[in-house]
């Protein structure tokens, strides 16, 4: 394990070092809302937060992006112009989700060049979670507040210092390159990290999901009952770090146009509706089944991964307070 420490007073120096690697984006608080934003040496990073409002997936898979342009000469792919980027102090759950949707965007057969480009150019320094929200349940899904995978470096914030642990060779290279910044971690710092993780886990809500009982041919009435108060908006999916469904839309202008990729939501009534008017998922229950099954059954079948990181954003933001923890309990009962 390659661990180093940094005194809190030196954090600006670390940010300066990160800025040499590329654009740095980190959680910043404005008007009580913590959002990922581009920072400079002067910015103050919000380290004590539960999670950023919008999932970090948007850095790799933006809400909308031009994928190609067309004109009299045909169709040309769009260069997305992604810059080398450092994501700093993002939560391990969000980092994990990038690996998940990466499985979709980059598979053996087809590689999504837009996602790939951004992923290749991004260096991730995550921040282990010490202040989970009441809606967090990452541990129940085999995640946990200090999960390392996906990050290049994982950091831990303690009272007066930070501890960094290099996870990937790139992470290690960064630490070595900037070794003047760091010192060796003290034993009490290492035990504090452990304690912090244990304390965080205690704050999480526990969800027992009996995946075996999750069946797609469950009674439609059951799904309809679960989805009864659903408004068919996309708050849950748009804020979900693992939801990756999109639509391609052509915008036409005078002598050409562009094809735009936009986030789409399986909870929208129009999502699967065909031009003929036929809608294979016309009921709210059908759509709820699709969302839940996709995350907890189809993804495990296809990728051996549960497409939920337990961040709780869907619970926090559903206008009808449909709680995915309760939904799971109901449909696996």
């Amino acid at each position: 394990m390659f661990q180093v420490a940094l005194d809190k007073v030196n954090i600006k120096k670390l940010i300066a070092a990160l800025l040499k690697e590329g654009v740095v984006k980190a959680p910043v608080e404005t008007d009580g809302v913590v959002e990922l934003a581009e920072i400079s040496e002067k910015s103050s990073v919000a380290f004590d937060y539960s999670n950023v409002k919008l999932p970090v997936k948007r850095e790799f898979f933006p809400q909308s992006e031009v994928i190609s342009r067309f004109g009299p000469d045909g169709v040309a792919p769009e260069k997305n112009g992604a810059k080398k980027t450092v994501l700093f102090a993002v939560r391990p759950c969000d980092v994990q989700s990038i690996a998940y949707i990466g499985k979709v965007f980059i598979d053996d057969q087809y590689q999504d060049p837009y996602f790939q480009d951004r992923r290749d150019k991004t260096f991730i320094v995550s921040l282990a979670c010490s202040s989970p929200a009441s809606t967090c349940f990452c541990e129940s899904l085999g995640q946990g507040p200090a999960r390392k995978s996906g990050s290049d470096i994982i950091s831990f914030k303690l009272t007066n210092s930070f501890v960094f642990e290099a996870v990937t060779p790139q992470g290690e290279a960064f630490v070595k390159k900037n070794k003047k910044l760091f010192r060796g971690p003290l034993p009490k710092e290492l035990s504090a990290i452990k304690k912090q993780e244990e304390d965080a886990i205690k704050k999480l809500s526990a969800v027992e999901v009996n995946m075996g009982a999750l069946k797609q041919d469950n009674d439609p009435a059951l799904w309809n009952a679960v989805a009864e108060t659903c408004l068919s908006c996309g708050a849950c999916t748009f804020l979900c770090p693992t939801c990756h469904c999109f639509d391609l839309f052509d915008e036409k202008h005078r002598d050409g146009g562009k094809r735009v990729r936009v986030h789409d939501a399986c909870m929208f009534e129009s999502f699967a509706k065909e031009a003929s008017g036929h809608n294979p998922r016309s009921q709210k229950g059908d759509r709820m089944r699709q969302r839940i099954m996709h995350k907890f059954s189809y993804a495990p079948d296809n990728f051996r991964l549960i497409f939920c990181v337990g961040c709780g954003r869907c619970i926090m933001n559903c206008p009808s307070n449909i709680d995915i923890r309760e939904t799971l309990a109901k449909v696996t009962a």
Binding site: E251, H253, R254, K258
Partner: protein, 146 residues
């Protein structure tokens, strides 16, 4: 980015009702009245047919100004189409003003079939007012603005 004042000719999209204002425009033409060529006319059955979305959409697609004109109150071919429209446009105009969209960009007027001169004067005024604007188009799509 773009300069505040425009140095290209502005485009005005005009929704004219079939029975009065379109005929008024026609009369202006046959009477050989001169008026600016910046206007692109869309003929609609009635000013009441004009959905506020038409206007918003025209601005989004790059129109520098939008004009809606119908029969004078009381003269509507469909009796009250323009009176219903009048309420809608009163709200829309105030609504767009509220966001800071220049009032010169969205205009409503009445022109009858016999008012060729009034039509020419109206276009003259609408185009001149838009040309005087110092602020850039607000609703327009990025590509079109560029």
């Amino acid at each position: 980015m773009a300069k505040a004042t425009i140095n290209r000719e502005p485009t005005i999209v005009a929704f004219l009702c079939n029975w009065c204002s379109y005929a008024g425009a026609d009369l202006a033409g046959v009477s050989r009245l001169q008026y600016p060529a910046n206007v692109r006319i869309v003929r609609v059955p009635c000013s009441g047919r004009v959905d506020p979305l038409y206007i918003i959409k025209a601005l989004q697609e790059g129109a520098d100004g939008v004009l809606v004109s119908g029969c004078h109150p009381g003269d509507c071919h469909y009796i009250s189409g323009n009176l219903v429209a009048r309420r809608k446009f009163a709200l829309l105009k105030s609504f767009l003003d509220y966001f800071g969209i220049e009032p010169e960009r969205v205009r409503f007027s009445w022109v009858s079939a016999s008012e060729g001169g009034r039509f020419a004067a109206l276009i003259e005024q609408v185009v001149a007012d838009v040309k005087k604007l110092k602020t850039k188009r607000k609703l327009v799509k990025e590509e079109i603005a560029a």
